[in-house]
Symmetry: C2
């Protein structure tokens, strides 16, 4: 049997400067250059990195035209360095009708898939963006089935399960996680990988942006739940080689969706009284 596809994944962790789009794009450009030079096929970057993670500042100060320019500039970074890229940005559309999006572009800068965050976190995000309603996309790319999620989405087992049931083998998650919540990286993200037999990469900011102390702790986790890369509090690139995973315990086969549905729909006796 020929070997399956193998993708060299790079993950960037760093601090963005709120609303300094030029500076942040330069940081991403340099990350793409380095990742490509290191042999990476695909670079994952944090949530809203090009704008900085600052929802209300983005709502108040990033125009519709500026958001559209961002998408164009980020696609050009991919094409310039001949590397596929996952980036997160606000838009499209006017400030009162925006989503937080994640976009996968190929090495020519063409859009392969885009996803809008369906679980907004906290009051500021909810006041600044609208939540997406579409399920995570699952696309054939580089020989793998790749799904896109954003930040808080991945903390809900229902969302990653949906992607896995639709075939995802690699789940890519830009995020903005605050200090004090490192258990998301070290507990929830490894569980999502293990319980679905997927590889999962979770790319965070590190340092203070607009008063918020972001945790770092970006991780790449294998389908057995093992953390294969942990960026800690560092700035820069982490790497992993991703292949289509085999399964040991086949959770997707062993789950009982019809039972769960019946538990949800029916008025079950939950007293546990023996018959």
């Amino acid at each position: 049997m020929p070997p399956g596809p193998s993708v060299r994944l790079a993950l960037f962790q760093g601090r963005a400067e709120p609303l300094d789009l030029v500076a942040n794009l330069a940081v991403l450009d340099q990350a793409a250059r380095e990742a490509r030079a290191a042999g990476a096929d695909l670079l994952l970057t944090p949530e809203l990195f090009a704008t900085g993670y600052a929802p209300s500042l983005i709502r108040d100060s990033v125009s519709t035209a500026a958001a559209a320019d961002l998408d164009r500039d980020l696609a050009r970074i991919a094409a310039r360095h001949d590397i596929a890229l996952v980036y997160s940005a606000p838009g499209p559309g006017p400030a009162d009708d925006r989503r937080i999006t994640s976009t996968l572009v190929d090495r020519a800068g063409r859009v392969v898939a885009r996803y809008a965050k369906s679980h907004l976190f906290g009051a500021e995000e909810r006041a600044s963006f609208r939540p997406g309603t579409a399920p995570p996309p699952v696309v054939d790319f580089l020989g793998l089935k790749i799904a896109l999620l954003i930040c808080y989405d991945v903390e809900f087992p229902e969302v990653v399960r949906d992607a896995a049931v639709h075939g995802a083998g690699l789940v890519l998650v830009p995020t903005a996680l605050s200090r004090g919540y490192e258990n998301v990286s070290r507990v929830l993200v490894p569980a999502r990988a293990l319980e679905n037999s997927v590889t999962l990469a979770y790319a965070n900011h590190v340092g203070i942006e607009a008063g918020l102390d972001l945790a770092g702790a970006s991780v790449i986790v294998g389908p057995d739940g093992t953390i294969v890369a942990d960026a800690g509090r560092t700035t820069g690139l982490s790497y992993a080689t991703v292949t289509a995973p085999g399964t040991d315990v086949d959770y997707l086969a062993d789950r009982r969706p019809e039972l769960y549905r019946s538990w949800t729909d029916a008025a079950h006796d939950r007293s546990g009284r023996p018959d």
Copy 2:
């Protein structure tokens, strides 16, 4: 405000002798005595401990009458030592129509709730038992809302979510986990606690029973995903004090069940093509 209820939980980890019911009941009796002497209100014990974890031996050798006697003997252990007990046993019923059950009895030995394992693990279990179909019970007991699950059930986020949505604050899980699968204790169980804001106790065997090397690694995990007790490879009792948890991130409020249902029911475009 008066302090909320506080329950002192004991968890027993040990090795059972397959089919030596007398010896195993003596071990559980001693564990109940020690746990009560240490001030515990409730003792959690491993899956199928009184029989040993040996599905096909149980099917072939434990009669309907012997299984019924077991339930009576286990209830008497609780009453003798004045401590509530969660135990797991085969039955009720004849060998070709048995479930793997978990039973909560109060300090007088009266049955409070019983649950039948809904996710059987592996070929031997499936050849030896029938799977339950009822959802996990959630019962008011000792001032908490207590849910019962068994072993492989807890590895499915859907099952613990069901219990949490129905109010569970403490989830008690007898288990029989093999060596090599310690990520269930150290990754999946902490994630179940954190993603549902529940305390979760997971009581395993340790050592070889009927040729199977059982992992130990029993854990008690707090609602923030922190492992507060880990029995490692030891034999004996672990303790934790359980209170009704407060929530930091309110996952149950922030989940979007109507959206998940729509993703399941509808034929969604998952191509991620931008509009």
